[in-house]
């Protein structure tokens, strides 16, 4: 990767890269298979330090992992929604992020979980919050020679959980019209922490900071949900395309925010 700089492109599942190479959208001179790097294959959960998710771990390995299902059900759902089983068997959560699509399913779920992207290959290893990783459609903070090695997610606090919802016209094999990831931590009947990630409603996946902060210290009642939904809607800046109009997407952003928060809170009660 270092020797070839911006002429090299890592391959993991190849489910985006091979299509892009065939279409001439990306034309790397060298493709580097990263699937044998140990740190990139690692999926390790600890109740103290949280999750280390190697950039090359496939979506199906995430979806079938008992720790993932229990502690990060929203991210697990997002990984299990990408394309078909054929795609999930090859594609990785790390690759979904590095592809840089505004509509990536796992990225809003990662944002909701306050994930950091650990990047190696430059002068020093650096950690970047996932909401800052994608800088424009298809472009990321990765510099030539750099690689996403792992995604680091904090251990869930007591009474925490997450959820991811996307709206598409059919159940499988489609690209999000809107995707919303939410995580909630409850304490004494009120929201102690909350994060909302939005997909497919702006040029990059978004952290809906105002919507998230509006919930802190509140009971997750009708009025709190209403406010968070409105602020998430206002944070979005969608476009009109064949999947939906901007107005429609703004509306659905609010609806899914409310629903994802409700599901995350129901799950948090049980933890």
């Amino acid at each position: 990767m270092k020797a070839n700089g911006d002429k090299a492109r890592p391959i993991c599942g190849g489910t985006d890269l091979i299509i892009q190479m065939r279409a001439g959208v990306r034309q790397p001179a060298v493709v580097v298979d990263i699937k044998k790097v140990r740190e990139m294959r690692e999926l390790k959960f600890s109740p103290k330090s949280g999750l280390k998710l190697g950039a090359a771990v496939s979506c199906i390995d995430v979806a079938e992992n008992a720790d993932m299902r229990r502690h990060y059900p929203g991210l697990t759902e997002a990984a299990h929604l990408i394309g078909s089983l054929q795609i999930q068997n090859r594609a990785s959560v790390g690759g979904n992020l590095c592809n840089g699509s505004p509509a990536a399913d796992t990225t809003p779920a990662l944002i909701a979980l306050k994930a950091k992207a650990r990047i190696a290959g430059g002068k020093a290893t650096r950690d970047v919050p996932v909401e800052e990783f994608v800088v424009s459609p298809g472009r990321t903070v990765l510099k030539p020679g750099e690689l996403l090695v792992q995604l680091l997610i904090p251990a869930p606090a007591p009474h925490s959980s997450d959820a991811y919802l996307r709206f598409i016209p059919r159940n499988e094999m489609d690209i999000a019209v809107v995707g919303v990831g939410a995580s909630v931590t409850l304490a004494g009947g009120v929201v102690k922490a909350a994060r909302i990630g939005l997909g497919a409603v702006a040029a990059t996946p978004l952290f809906a900071d105002k919507a998230s902060e509006s919930l802190i210290g509140k009971k997750l009642d009708e009025s709190a949900l209403e406010t968070a939904a409105r602020l998430a809607s206002e944070a979005s800046s969608p476009i009109d395309d064949m999947r939906g109009t901007a107005e429609y997407r703004r509306h659905v952003t609010g609806v899914l925010t409310r629903r994802a928060l409700t599901i995350a809170a129901e799950r948090a009660h049980k933890h």
Binding site: I11, T15, I18, R22, I60, G83, Q86, I87, R90
Partner: protein
């Protein structure tokens, strides 16, 4: 033209070696290098599933995998499903239920269904529809395919392996 790479794999139970260019997809290696044309080329974008094969027991689109990535893997293709003249129960039930018309999608459907039944020998109709969501058929409307998979699961459970001759 890049230098060719030697790739060693196990295909349908046999150790196989082939030479391919690093840019060639596994589908190209199967069809053009090994002359195994059972796996079909459809969309080349991972949408249609006609090229589905099993890699270490999991269905993947062979058009979205490089041949060199298959090094050391166990590959299963539609050519390996039947046991001599005895069709696999899925193949037999596809025939009985008329689950194909033009047949281009069929090898992919068979491989996805094989992966499903090996993991879940008793799937519900909904589970079958989800498991086959990555395979498109423009002829049958899917119902006949789903019925064939349900029926194949039933016959595999009862251990009856029907033959084409019977």
């Amino acid at each position: 033209m890049s230098k060719k790479t030697l790739v060693e794999v196990n295909i349908n139970g046999e150790e196989v070696e082939f030479l391919c260019e690093p840019r060639q997809s596994l589908l190209e290696c199967l069809r053009d290098v090994l002359e195994m044309t059972g796996s079909k080329e459809g969309c080349l974008t991972g949408d249609c599933g006609a090229c589905s094969v099993l890699i270490d027991g999991r269905a993947v689109c062979s058009c979205l995998m490089l041949g060199v990535e298959a090094q050391g893997k166990e590959i299963r293709t539609v050519e390996g499903l039947a046991d001599g003249n005895t069709l696999h129960p899925l193949q037999q039930k596809f025939l009985e239920h008329a689950s194909l018309q033009c047949g281009i999608c069929t090898p992919g459907f068979l491989m996805s269904a094989t992966a499903l039944l090996e993991r879940n020998p008793n799937p519900t109709e909904a589970e079958i529809r989800y498991a086959l969501a990555g395979n498109l058929c423009r002829c049958t409307g899917y119902d006949k395919i789903v019925r064939a998979v349900l029926d194949a699961a039933k016959s595999m459970k009862s251990g009856v392996r029907t033959s084409r001759a019977a």
